[in-house]
Symmetry: C2
Subunit: 303 residues, 2 copies
């Protein structure tokens, strides 16, 4: 079952020929959750063969152009493609103002509804759930209100041990009960406990997105043990002062957070246009947290 | 002296993997005039090695997303690049509403001024001039107010015939006068007429942009004899009804206008995403007007 991250863009505000502005698709079993939507995101989706029809929810971290200026075009294209399903957009209050303007001027007559869900960027709380996942907000700190996202699969059911079912001749009709936690009583009254009939559920997978933000060591509690962390690393640590001033993070800091939060893997992105040697940035991060990769347009990470 | 058209994008509203939405740069001796600004225009400029600093004026045909959604990002990038020069944007009144919104929400503190010049889309009139060119509006007809642009070099001065200057020993100080139309009187009182001292000025070059619009045969008067006409050809003529309904033009119609207006060359663009065989579209246009080319991202046409 898919749980994979697709990088559409991982540059920062000043465009370059080698990076697109920020946007990602988290593919959870065929449902696409878009995270940020920089200019050109829809083109990148087409290049990667990702269908816009699969997007139900878009999560926007903050209202800077390099994270939202792909929305106007995307909303229009979805209409041209005949969308009728609601599109839910979650983000700081300011993002709602843009959506309101777009609906007023450009999209008064589109064939589907765009529903905005404001996020309190100061709270770590549940902002969305469906049958398969939960999404929690992660309070970040940037020049304007900014928020990260923690995607977590809901725990699955335990797996039935086929050989036990056969051995005790348990009828098929009981299998859902057993999965849900029931034990089994044989004809002679022996109770076979649930644990003997099943193996534990597949561990649920998780993904945390933190961009744009200064280095916040306290985030380690929220993102503890996630399988994959995407964290901005706009600068190398030699420009730590610049990072502090512009409310961004260095590669070293991102890796330190990954290490302290004991995540499985770190993906760094949101590179400053001034970064000429990304390999050096990667080495810096890996010196603290070896299991780090560089984001790159077109990269797909299976979690 | 440059007078060349750079195609940044020539697709229509529904994005494809092979075309970007509409945008062009007309390079007049190093001054860039941008025409329309679809999403991704700034990236295309970078790909083509065109500097955003050279843009002084942007002309917007109409307020549909595929012609304007590159503006938000472009305006921000120009600020990040340290722009201080005024940026002039010309277009139908509705474009001004977007600029106002952008300035209010995103660009309250940028380091340069964006000045909007509304265009009356029903009039054919002078909307801009500087030392080297004039720009006239071309009334178009689309689903919303839409306007084309006629760029025309100002007539240059005649060229001095060096051998006549030498023969009559005319002092250098008189050359500007002669270029400006003066004759020369020799010491013995003989008048050498201006025409003998000069050859005619280089013919001034012209470019007309017509998109988006239905086929308007009467435009032939306005664009008579231009060196290059860019005209939308969203559909092939087998879909003439669809073109009529959506207020677009077919390849055959665009070529008919080019022929009737006796233009030098026709470049067709704004292709519907449904066009699979652009060669067929080109053949259709060339059957009426042979000197037709297909627009293409990255194409540069020297006029």
């Amino acid at each position: 079952m898919n749980f994979e991250l697709n990088i559409l863009g991982c540059g920062s505000a000043k465009p370059t020929t080698h990076h697109q502005p920020t946007s990602q698709i988290l593919n959870v079993r065929g449902k696409y959750f878009m995270i940020d939507c920089g200019e050109g995101a829809q083109t990148q989706m087409q290049m990667m063969g990702l269908s816009m029809a699969n997007i139900g929810h878009i999560f926007i971290s903050h209202n800077h152009g390099d994270h939202v200026f792909g929305l106007p075009g995307l909303i229009g294209t979805m209409d041209l493609l005949g969308r009728t399903a609601e599109l839910h957009i979650h983000g700081p209050q300011q993002v709602g103002e843009m959506l309101e303007f777009l609906q007023h001027i450009y999209y008064a007559e589109i064939g589907y509804e765009v529903i905005f869900h404001p996020i309190d960027t100061r709270q770590h709380q549940l902002i969305f759930e469906d049958r398969s996942i939960t999404v929690h907000s992660i309070p970040l700190e940037h020049r304007i209100p900014s928020v990260g996202f923690l995607f977590r699969e809901k725990p699955g059911l335990p797996h039935i041990r086929r050989e036990m079912i056969d051995a005790f001749q348990i009828p098929v009709s009981q299998i859902n009960n057993i999965k849900a936690g029931a034990s089994w009583t044989t004809e002679d009254g022996t109770v076979i406990p649930h644990e003997r009939l099943t193996t534990p559920a597949t561990p649920s997978r998780s993904y945390a997105y933190c961009s744009d933000t200064i280095y916040l060591p306290e985030l380690k509690e929220i993102i503890k043990g996630v399988n994959l962390l995407y964290h901005e690393a706009t600068y190398m640590h030699e420009r730590a002062l610049r990072a502090e001033q512009t409310r961004h993070t260095t590669a070293l800091q991102a890796a330190t957070l990954a290490r302290d939060a004991e995540v499985g893997q770190l993906c760094v992105g949101h590179f400053s246009a001034a970064i000429k040697d990304e390999a050096a940035l990667l080495r810096e991060a890996q010196s603290v947290f070896p299991n780090t990769v560089l984001a790159k347009e077109g990269l797909v990470i299976s979690i």
